[in-house]
């Protein structure tokens, strides 16, 4: 602590330069926080995917439908505990930019397979007994200021009903929350029986199946058994774990993790150069002062520590402030897309990673200038001053 004043005084020596360096580090860590939240939003499905759940889709693509009778057949396959269908509706609420996922499901079965969707008991019962009922996640409900009891009109883009009518009207009976952070609360679910009876085309078909396996260790084996069951049929299947399914979805826009990592590597490398140059310049400018410190008895290690302390202080001030502001802004303001992302938060894991990067960056940027300062030969440096 007795050297803190010395470190702080040196940082105040060139205020503008220190402020600009601080600002660049600060902005870099805000960017880090935002990118971490976006990556979380785009890949979170993989993290919350049930290890005991498989997704069974058409072998050609997810947009090819499967027969509705596969459910019963799948439930006969050893290792399958439960199966339930789901179908992508793809409608529009008022205007196309109001996107949120609408999925047709069998309520009891679906909630049984997805216990992470938490719904009050009365709302759950209302959904089970009302054919036109729908539930929605908290994020989307807040986005459109919906409340239980509202009638929600959705314009179909494909699934017309009643001889070409595009507008489907649903009774909102429940708003679900996620049992843990990372659960998608943007989705809108309504009943398969109502949908199947009312739709104009392709009755009896479904988009995909969700299958619960009785032993998650045997998931791959069960997936193979499912695919073998429907092999050589008109609608062959591709079964895979839910995590693999979500990953293949997010991989359609590229390896998000690698993209984020590349951006942040470039940002931090630039910061390394900026902060490193600031420290190197600062040490060059006060060679004489450092020599005086050593002349009065400071050891090489103490001078090295002082310079390293300055680098750590400047990076820590900028970095931790950036992380704190990113965390606060993301927590308070939330999803900047207004709810188009399934979730938007700064994961704790990334916050810790950010803090570690701050410390590492401080050490790396300060190390060479500190070493240079530590190795300074007193007599030579004093001779240059004279």
């Amino acid at each position: 602590m007795r050297y803190a004043r010395l470190v702080w005084s040196n940082l105040k020596r060139k205020k503008i330069r220190t402020l600009l360096t601080l600002a660049s580090i600060f902005v870099a860590f805000i960017l880090f926080g935002c990118l971490a939240a976006v990556r979380q939003a785009l890949t979170a499905g993989m993290n919350v995917a049930g290890a005991d759940r498989l997704i069974v889709r058409h072998i050609v693509s997810i947009i090819q439908l499967l027969p509705g009778n596969y459910e019963a057949e799948m439930e006969q396959i050893p290792g399958v505990a439960e199966a339930t269908p789901a179908t992508w509706f793809g409608g529009i609420y008022r205007e196309p930019r109001n996107f949120f996922p609408q999925i047709v499901v069998k309520p009891e079965e679906y909630l049984s397979l997805y216990p992470e969707f938490q719904l009050p008991e009365d709302e759950r019962e209302a959904w089970f007994r009302t054919r036109t009922a729908a539930i929605v996640g908290r994020t989307t409900a807040e986005r459109f200021e919906w409340k239980v009891g509202d009638k929600i009109p959705i314009q179909a883009t494909y699934w017309t009903h009643g001889g070409g009518k595009k507008t489907w009207e649903f009774d909102l009976v429940g708003i679900y929350d996620g049992a843990k952070k990372g659960v998608d609360t943007t989705q809108f679910f309504f009943r398969y029986d109502y949908f199947d009876e009312a739709r104009d085309a392709l009755r009896g078909s479904v988009g995909w199946y969700i299958v619960k396996v009785s032993d998650s260790d045997r998931a791959a084996e069960v997936a193979r058994a499912i695919d073998e069951t429907f092999a050589n049929s008109p609608a062959e299947t591709k079964a895979e774990t839910e995590a693999a399914f979500v990953r293949s979805f997010s991989d359609q826009v590229g390896n998000i993790g690698a993209i984020m990592q590349a951006i942040m590597s470039a940002v931090f490398f630039t910061i390394l150069l900026v902060a490193g140059n600031t420290m190197a310049q600062s040490v060059r400018e006060r060679t004489g002062e450092l020599a005086v410190l050593k002349a009065v008895g400071f050891t090489n290690g103490q001078v090295l520590g002082l310079v390293l302390g300055e680098a750590l202080t400047i990076v820590a001030l900028g970095g931790f402030a950036g992380l704190a502001i990113a965390w606060s802004a993301i927590s308070i303001i939330g999803d900047p897309t207004g709810g188009r992302l399934p979730m938007f938060f700064f994961p704790t894991r990334d916050l810790i990673m950010g803090a570690l990067i701050v410390v590492a960056l401080g050490i790396v940027t300060g190390f060479l200038p500190a070493l240079q300062a530590g190795r300074l030969r007193i007599a030579d440096a004093l001779r240059r001053l004279a």
């Binding site: 007795r2 050297y3 004043r5 010395l6 005084s9 040196n10 105040k12 020596r13 004489g288 002062e289 005086v292 410190l293 050593k294 002349a295 009065v296 008895g297 400071f298 050891t299 090489n300 290690g301 103490q302 007193i378 007599a379 004093l382 001779r383 001053l385 004279a386």
Partner: protein
């Protein structure tokens, strides 16, 4: 600190050679010097004669190429790194020609610097700093930064920094070289008082005969050797 044969500083057959490319420059050549405790020695000589080099060697800021240097009976030419730094902190006070104060620290913080290396508490350091600044007559300027002080005042702060740890030896390298006559005289009066009233042993490198006249002994350094009188 014990003394060897009554001498506080003993320099024996000390040589110092610098390399400039392939050329070797012999700055000090088998030089001997002995200094008693309480002496005030003025070291004179032409530019480049090696006065500052000798001062640096005695102060443990540089090492001799050959020979032995003892201060208070301790062979400092055998010390290195951490031990030498600790020895300097304990036994040497330095006063430079261009003051070499840290511009980002106030007068009191500059004076406190050597005390940061001790185990003294903040309050104890404060007391020592007050005393040192009182001795140099700058108690009223302790909160001022170097840029707010005159050259003479900066040098007095430099002297306060040099004496704040109550060192065995005060080494002054051209302490009046950057000052006008009036300020220079004030600094010399201060050094003389430190020697006379506080018993400080002082070695002062200077070009100025007027400054050297304030010392109790004068030596001339030229062509790597010391003499009582300047060489022709």
């Amino acid at each position: 600190m014990s003394e060897s044969n009554g001498a506080l500083v003993r320099v024996e057959k000390v040589s110092k050679t610098f390399k400039r490319g392939a050329e070797k420059i012999h700055v000090l050549d088998g030089l001997d010097l002995s200094l008693l405790k309480g002496e005030f020695l003025a070291l004179m000589g032409p530019s480049g004669s090696g006065k500052s080099t000798l001062l640096n060697i005695i102060g443990g800021l540089d090492s001799p190429t050959a020979g032995a240097v003892s201060v208070g009976g301790e062979r400092i030419d055998r010390l290195s790194g951490k031990k030498l730094a600790a020895w300097r902190a304990r036994h040497i006070g330095l006063v430079f020609q261009f003051y070499n104060l840290l511009p980002v620290l106030s007068a009191e913080r500059n004076v406190e610097l050597p005390l940061l290396l001790t185990r003294l508490s903040g309050a104890e350091r404060r007391k020592h700093v007050d005393t040192a600044l009182g001795v140099v007559g700058l108690s009223h300027r302790q909160k001022h930064y170097p840029r707010e002080l005159s050259g003479g005042e900066q040098q007095r702060v430099g002297i306060a920094r040099g004496i704040v740890t109550d060192p065995t030896l005060l080494l002054c390298d051209e302490p009046t070289g950057d000052l006008d006559r009036k300020s220079g005289d004030e600094v010399l009066n201060l050094l003389a008082a430190l020697n006379r009233e506080h018993g400080k042993t002082i070695i002062m490198v200077t070009h100025d005969p007027h400054a050297a006249a304030r010392a109790s002994r004068k030596l001339y350094l030229d062509k790597g050797r010391l003499s009582q009188e300047p060489l022709e």
